[in-house]
Subunit: 355 residues, 2 copies
C-alpha cells in the first residue's frame, strides 16, 4: 500500500495527491510552512491524514525553535499551531492534533526542551500508528453491516490515502473482503477535485477491490434502480448532535439514500468528532477558489470569467444518517454525545447488524 | 444569438457543441450520415434540437434518393429514418420528427417526388421556426412562476443551444428578464459532458444574464441554505403519467428540491411528450462509453482501465414535479395526459402562479 505520509530523515514526506493517478510523486517538507502549504493545496487531504500531517508539522516546526526555555518554546510553537490551523477550517482534526500536542507538552513541562523536541517526533509517529489501528477498529465494527454480495457506494476519498492507512470509510469494506464477502464498490467521482475518481477508484484498484466509477449525478439513478445496498462515507467534522460535515455532495447522497431506503453510514474516528459543537450548522464551511471548477489538470473547461461558487463541504443533518461507525462501535447519531459522557454504557446503545 | 442549426446552401450546418466554449466552430453536413454522426457525437444535442436535426437530416437524405416513384422514394427514406432513429434512444424528438415527416409525405403522396424533395426542405425549416415559437410560448407561460429577485437553478442545457433558439428551460428565464425582473441563474455543471458549464453558463453569459456555475454536488447544499427559489429543467422524453426522462442528475436535483420545499418545473414542448408511453420506467435509457467520464477535452483524468457506468439520462417520477411547462400552459404532471384527450378544458386544469 502506498504511504500517504511518513516522518523520514528529519523531514515530513507526503504523497502529492493532486497528481494522482497520473503521477506518483512525493513532497519532502523540510519545514512546517511546506507542510501547511501541502495541506492547503490538497497534496494531503482527508481529516485523519491532515491531523497526522499537523502533528508531524508541529514536530518539524519544533526542531526549528532555538531556545532551552519551555515557555519560550511554547510561544514559538503557537506560531506553528496558528499556521497549521489556518490552512483548512472545516476538518476538526488539525485542531484535535494541536490540542493533543499542547496537552502532551504541558504534561511534560519539566522535561528539557531538547528532549521534548525528540518526543514530539515520537508522538507524531504515534498519531500515525494509532490512526491505522483506529481505522482497523472502524473496519471491524462496520463490516457487520456489509453482507456477502453487497454493493457499497462511497463519496470522495476516505480511504487509505485520507488516513495513516487502511481508511475510515474503506475500513469496513477491507474487513468485509478479508472476511471472504464478495462485494463491490461504487465510487462517486466527487467533483470538483475528483477524489473519488483519482484516489478512491485508484487505491481500490491497487488492492484488487472491485470498483465502478460513476459521476456524482449517477448515484441517484443507481440508488433508484435498487442496485446499492448501503453507503459509507467519511467525515471532516461530526458534531455532538450527530450532524456530519463532509465533502460537498455528501448531503445529496444521504438524501437520495433515505429516499430509496438505503442505509447511510458515516465512518468517524473520535478525532473527527467535535463534541464541543452542538449543531452542524455552526461548522465553518471552507469556500475555495473557482479554479477547481473551471480547470481540470490545468486545462480550462469553463467559459472565460464565469462566476463560480465552490463550497468544499456540506452538512448532512443527523436525521439522514443510519449509523456513525467509530473505533468504539457503531452508534445512532442521536446517541453520539454519550461517547463523551462518563459512565455511559456503550455496549447498550451500540447498533448491531440484524441478520 | 449563435445559431444552433440551419439549412444553408443545400447543407445542414450545425454548431459543434463538443468544442464549446473553447472554440466556436460549425460542422457542415453534406449528407444525412454526417447529421446522424453529429447527433451521436453530441455536436448537436438537446431534445428539440435533435428533432430539428432529424427533420433536416431527412430533407438532406431525400435529396440523395434517385427515383420519381413515391413508394420507391418512401422505401429509400426508411433507411434515412432508421439511421437517425438509431443515434440516440432516449429523446423522443427524433421519433416525433420522423412521424411528422412520414405523415407530411403520406398526405402529399400524389405530388411529384421532385416537388416533395423541395417541400421537405421547407418543412424542416418550419420545424425549426415553430420550435422557436414554441420556446417563446413556454417562456411566456413559465415566467409567471419566477418572481423579481428569484434565483433559478437549472441542470444540463435546455437553452437556445438545445433548441432552434430561445430555449425551453431558459425560455421562462428570458421572458422574466424581458419583464424587468431581476433574477439570477445557478447552472449545475452537469457531468460528464459538462453541458451546464460549457453551454448553459456560456450562452447566458453571451446574453448578459447573471449566472453562477456550481458542481452538481453543490446544488444540495445551496438548496438547503434556502438560496434557490425554483428549478427549471428540460426533458428528453416526458410520458403520459408525467414521469420525466432528462439528463442524468435531474432526478437527484428533483429529490433535493422536494426535500427543501423548492418548486421543480420541467419545460416540455409537446414534441418531447410521448403520450403513447404510460410510465417513465419504460423509457429506454442510453448508456454511453466510459470516455466521457475518464477523459475531459481529451485529457485522461481517471485511473487506467477503471470500470465505468455512464448512464446518459435518468427518470424523475411525476411526484417530484411541481409543474410541466408546455406551449399550451403549465400543468400538474398528473394532468398531462389530458392534453392528449379531445375536449379537455385546459384552461380549467392549468396551473397559475399565486401572488
Amino acid at each position: 500500500m502506498v504511504k500517504t505520509i511518513e516522518w523520514t530523515d528529519g523531514r515530513v514526506r507526503m504523497l502529492d495527491q493532486t497528481l494522482l493517478p497520473r503521477e506518483v510523486k512525493y513532497l519532502d517538507c523540510t519545514d512546517y510552512h511546506m507542510v501547511a502549504e501541502g495541506i492547503k493545496k490538497l497534496c494531503i487531504r482527508g481529516a485523519p491524514a491532515i491531523g497526522i500531517a499537523a502533528a508531524m508539522g508541529i514536530a518539524l516546526g519544533a526542531q526549528q525553535i532555538r531556545t532551552g526555555d519551555f515557555n519560550e518554546f511554547m510561544k514559538g510553537l503557537e506560531g506553528v499551531f496558528n499556521t497549521l490551523l489556518s490552512t483548512r477550517p472545516t476538518a476538526v482534526n488539525i485542531q484535535w492534533a494541536v490540542e493533543r500536542i499542547r496537552k502532551f507538552l504541558t504534561e511534560r513541562r519539566h522535561e528539557p526542551v531538547d528532549k521534548l523536541k525528540a518526543m514530539l517526533i515520537e508522538e507524531a509517529n504515534r498519531v500515525l500508528n494509532e490512526d491505522i489501528e483506529i481505522n482497523r477498529a472502524i473496519g471491524e465494527w462496520g463490516a457487520q453491516f456489509i453482507k456477502d454480495g453487497d454493493t457499497v457506494i462511497t463519496h470522495c476519498n476516505a480511504g487509505s490515502l485520507a488516513t495513516g492507512g487502511y481508511g475510515t470509510a474503506t475500513g469496513p469494506i477491507r474487513v468485509a473482503i478479508e472476511q471472504g464477502k464478495k462485494i463491490q464498490v461504487i465510487a462517486d467521482e466527487t467533483r470538483p477535485v475528483l477524489q473519488g475518481c483519482r484516489l478512491t477508484a485508484w487505491e481500490l484498484m491497487q488492492d484488487n477491490i472491485p470498483v465502478t466509477l460513476i459521476t456524482d449525478n449517477t448515484a441517484g439513478a443507481i440508488l433508484r434502480k435498487g442496485e446499492i445496498n448501503l453507503a459509507i462515507v467519511g467525515t471532516d467534522r461530526t458534531v455532538a448532535n450527530g450532524d456530519v460535515a463532509n465533502k460537498i455532495g455528501t448531503y445529496s447522497l444521504a438524501v437520495l439514500c433515505r429516499e430509496n431506503n438505503v442505509p447511510f453510514y458515516v465512518a468517524a474516528p473520535l478525532s473527527s468528532i467535535d463534541f464541543s459543537m452542538p449543531s452542524g450548522d455552526l461548522i465553518p464551511i471552507e469556500e475555495r477558489g473557482p479554479e477547481e471548477v473551471t480547470h481540470i489538470f490545468g486545462r480550462h473547461i469553463a467559459p472565460e470569467g464565469v462566476k463560480v461558487r465552490n463550497l468544499a463541504f456540506d452538512v448532512t443533518p443527523a436525521k439522514y444518517i443510519t449509523g456513525i461507525i467509530t473505533e468504539k462501535g457503531v452508534f445512532r447519531p442521536g446517541d453520539l454525545h454519550k461517547l463523551n459522557e462518563k459512565g455511559a454504557d456503550l455496549e447498550k446503545i451500540m447498533l448491531k447488524a440484524k441478520y
